[in-house]
Symmetry: none
Subunit: 266 residues, 2 copies
């Protein structure tokens, strides 16, 4: 099930960190690495730090935007070192791993996103994630090396996998981690497949357009409106039918709004 999980590194400066992350991934059984606009890749420093995980590096997908990296994903966690101005659902690594593996077990496609060495993920990038995952650190020295953060998350994913394997074999794992926890209250028996990130993004773009047309949203005075709506809908984890319903509602609103403006429907 770890094959359903990808590690996404955004804007990495030091190719050595890419190699070290690849090695950490492979140690824990992860294979899918996606690089969003790395500064230097491929690079000899990446190869040397990968040390036996060259296959993860050579299989890495390099893309030019985070949206592209996440297009087919259904559950996205973004690594964040600190509380943001707009609070977001924050989980600790073990909880994230549990949620990720539960999603993967149902065919979900999961991504963990890690930001730049110096500045992490931007607010805009973090707002593309369903959850923020925070690795607990001491106050005042909270910035983990990038590959170390990948190691901790990959380690938690492996522990969760082992826990699930043990459970499947009918014996409880003698560990503190065996408690049940549900990231989303829809782990079992959902009737419709979760919407992909691309489908959710298209809905949010459509929503923004309608909010402008009905004069609710003024792009020149954005306040936090769009971020708050994005956060709300990501939190709900819409399935495909729900997204279809919401898009249908938006189309009907546009038709009405166009009539009221004396224009043709869109």
């Amino acid at each position: 099930m770890l094959s359903h999980v990808s590690i996404v590194l955004v804007g990495t400066s030091h190719p050595g960190n890419i190699g070290a992350a690849a090695r950490a991934m492979k140690n824990m059984g992860l294979q899918h690495l996606v690089l969003v606009s790395p500064d230097s890749f491929p690079h000899p420093d990446a190869d040397s730090r990968a040390s036996g995980a060259g296959d993860v590096l050579s299989g890495a997908r390099v893309v030019s935007s985070l949206a592209e990296a996440l297009a087919d994903r259904t559950v996205v966690f973004g690594a964040s070192a600190r509380q943001r101005t707009l609070p977001w659902p924050v989980v600790e690594p073990a909880v994230a791993a549990k949620g990720a593996m539960a999603a993967a077990a149902q065919g979900g496609r999961v991504a963990f996103v890690f930001g730049r060495e110096d500045s992490g993920l931007s607010n805009d990038e973090l707002q593309r994630c369903h959850y923020h995952v925070q690795i607990p650190t001491v106050d005042g020295f909270s910035s983990l090396n990038l590959a170390m953060a990948v190691q901790v998350i990959s380690y938690e994913l492996r522990l969760e996998l082992l826990g699930l394997l043990e459970k499947a074999r009918g014996k409880a794992r003698p560990s503190t981690r065996s408690a049940d926890l549900m990231l989303s209250p829809r782990d079992e028996g959902w009737d419709v497949e979760l919407a992909s990130m691309e489908e959710v993004d298209q809905f949010l773009i459509h929503l923004e357009q309608v909010l402008v047309e009905i004069e609710f949203h003024d792009p020149d005075r954005p306040r936090q409106l769009l971020q708050r709506l994005r956060r709300l809908f990501l939190r709900a984890h819409p399935d495909r039918m729900e997204i279809n319903i919401l898009r249908g509602v938006l189309r009907n609103v546009q038709r009405k709004a166009a009539i009221s403006d004396g224009n043709k429907p869109h």
Copy 2:
């Protein structure tokens, strides 16, 4: 209590790994580093990888034998990648951390010992340890980078410390490790109060009314539309500001729809 725990690195070849280990330790609140016969220390590579943890490096004790490093310790864990010919008590990292912190709480002095990059700890060295600690990895690619192994153990120690602190304060930690179940990952630090059920219901009634007005919803052929929308919004657990935003959107839609119907706004 982490001040009772030291990290001991034996025969380290690459000074960069010493620096990276120091950073990982400091991130997690550990300070005491002991180096047994390092190949090169101090070294600029150690300084550069330590990146802010220079105090851990400058406070490191350099000794010439493992026995000397362990002389004042009461509980010793040795990192081991594989099963030894002579079986030894083997624990996983979370269990080791629990044991270490329990010992520290009673005034014990704990060490975690890590071996050489290429060959780990010798049998003789491992036999100086009370327990062997094994970080779970995939078969066939089991050798973690040295600093990564230090990161995983330091992380588990921090988790255990946090768990103990919470317990001491009399509240369970909302974690998979305390057997608590968290339905919503936003228990703490949200900026706005959650909406009451009444507020959510009023929004849903308003939404239904608008869906009729924009001719999206036909009350005579309800299908499952309203149930699906109710389920979606309940799942998101909206806060009061989010409900206010959504109500505002509905009002603007009604204003536009009323104009298009040639009626006054509601």
